[in-house]
């Protein structure tokens, strides 16, 4: 079976007008415009399998949205090829559009002054969903997302979380197999975020759907994505599991200690590098693969009454990865971890 999404040497360059500041600059730009080429996406290649949930990581302006737009057919690439759900996004037409869905956390498709049910019915017509399929899919989505009481309330009167649930239902009525989710939990409270995540996992399990996700919430990434594509300035820096990324960028683990009476910094320093010492608390850093052994030794030494091994926050790992990439000479910027061709 072919891949759900394949991108090969995908590139996108923009021509942007440059002008000097002030009125003079504005006039000059009008008479003799100058342009600069900006590389938004630079030779991205990756494959995503059916049923995989993959997260795009990268700072603002890294090229995540541009890539998503190329995968959905909204932008022509400058170079490279894309196949999504067996189609070329620009020539796939209705067959392609019926297999995908695009959910933008900061844009809405719900009709503002009307209940969500009306948007659903419009989508039924747009996607030409046969009535019995529509009823089945609608029932499933209403149950999974708990939309029952919301369906006859005008969208503008719904809370942000309720509206996002309805947005998702509207976007999934035609039962797409490929979901492009750009910040699907943007601005939602923790409970609503959690509900959306559980729903997405459930939808994937039921329909073997493939999801490509961008989010600024790390909890989205850790809860949903089995794999991350890290991009910065249009280039792929890392392709692999989140754990592999963390292990690669943060080789140390931090151990929190509750000190026993009379414990000294010298005693503690034998087990690892002291990060913080203030009786009765201390933290030390030890190499990741020695963390368990080190904790056992500390406990045996009698200098502490309790230990707890902490993983550094994932945000730190990602920040470090980008910092490392920024320090790397470019071009050619080698990936942090060799990109192993996926089976």
């Amino acid at each position: 079976m072919s891949h759900a999404i394949t991108a090969q040497d995908l590139s996108k360059h923009y021509r942007v007008k440059v002008r000097d500041p002030g009125l003079r600059g504005a006039l000059y730009a009008l008479v003799s415009p100058r342009y600069r080429d900006v590389t938004a996406v630079d030779r991205l290649s990756f494959q995503i399998e059916h049923g995989e949930i993959v997260a795009f990581l990268g700072p603002n302006g890294a090229g995540k949205t541009t890539t998503l737009k190329m995968l959905t057919g909204l932008l022509y690439p400058t170079a490279g090829t894309v196949t999504v759900a067996g189609c070329n996004p620009w020539t796939g037409g209705s067959a392609f559009k019926s297999r995908i869905t695009l959910v933008l956390g900061n844009k809405q498709q719900l009709l503002w002054d009307l209940p969500p049910e009306e948007t659903f019915r419009l989508n039924k017509a747009i996607y030409g969903i046969p009535t019995e399929v529509y009823e089945a899919q609608r029932t499933e989505l209403v149950d999974l997302l708990g939309l029952g009481p919301l369906l006859d309330t005008p969208a503008r009167q719904l809370s942000l979380g309720e509206r996002m649930k309805c947005e998702l239902a509207a976007a999934l009525l035609h039962r797409p197999t490929i979901l492009m989710l750009d910040e699907p939990t943007l601005g939602l409270d923790v409970t609503a975020q959690d509900a959306i995540r559980r729903f997405l996992l459930d939808y994937r399990a039921r329909h073997n759907a493939t999801m490509l996700l961008t989010s600024h919430y790390m909890a989205d990434i850790t809860a949903l994505a089995s794999r991350v594509l890290m991009i910065d300035r249009g280039r792929l820096l890392f392709d692999g599991s989140l754990n592999a990324l963390v292990a690669r960028t943060t080789p140390l683990k931090r151990i929190e200690l509750t000190l026993a009476e009379g414990a000294t910094p010298e005693q503690i320093a034998r087990f690892g590098e002291i990060h913080h010492f203030e009786f009765p608390h201390a933290t030390i850093d030890v190499p990741r693969d020695e963390a368990t052994r080190a904790s056992a030794r500390i406990l045996m030494s009698g200098a502490v009454v309790d230990v707890s091994i902490q993983d550094p926050p994932i945000e730190d790992a990602i920040r470090l990865a980008f910092a490392e990439a920024a320090n790397t000479e470019r071009p050619p910027a080698p990936p942090l971890v060799p990109l192993v061709p996926r089976p």
Partner: protein, 275 residues
Amino acid sequence: MVPSVADAAEPRLELNTWAVLRALIRLSATLELQYPANFFASMFGTLFWLTMAVLTVALFYSHTTHLGGWSFWETVALLGVFNALVGVVEGVFRPGIGSLAEQIRHGSFDLVLTRPVDAQLYLTFRELDLWRIADFVLGLSLAGYAMHKLGRPLDAAHALAFFITFASAIAVLYSVWLALMCLAFWLVAIENLPTVFDALFEAARYPASAYPKALRLVFVYLLPVAWTTTIPASALVGRLSMLGVVESVGVGCAALLVSRLVWRAALRRYTSAGG
């Protein structure tokens, strides 16, 4: 129950333009029926506007018997046609394609483009201000009353000629409106484009022959204003030949074709630039 992989395959889709059109019109009706007061507001507004317009024309005719060869009641018939077209512009064009720039700015246009529907069709009928049907009905009623005053009952041939030229007029107006709004893809700020359209269309309030010759040629050949009111009104009052009817169909079709090409060029630009 977890469906099998076969169940997970996408449902068979039958894309249906008419179903989308019906759904959009139904939605607008649902929305508009929530605010029935708008109907009366629209009705009174139109009645007031029409009275003023007729009085202005009457003022002209207090100094002359003919305007560009048109008698008072012939000009009133044209005014009625003009107002019926205003109903189409305000009821369909402005809320629909008129929202294009805003949709591009807010990014909701992206969501339209990812759906299996013709984006032009969808945008055209996405939102309708159905109460503006008052302008349409009152406009045609005024034209009918003028015909009665002229003592020319409408026979089937004239009615057909009017129907055809009126449809062509809508096509021409739609095309000009669409092409103007498409400039939003190239220019960032287009707040003034509807004003350009309004100014142009305002010229259609009087018979094209009432204007100086140079301007008349512009309205016929360059900016197709003459085809919007003068031609259908001519058909109504029996001033238009068979050839004129055929020509108006040609102009209407050509306008639609050109505006579609502009639309496609605009979309190509959007998808190759963007960001």
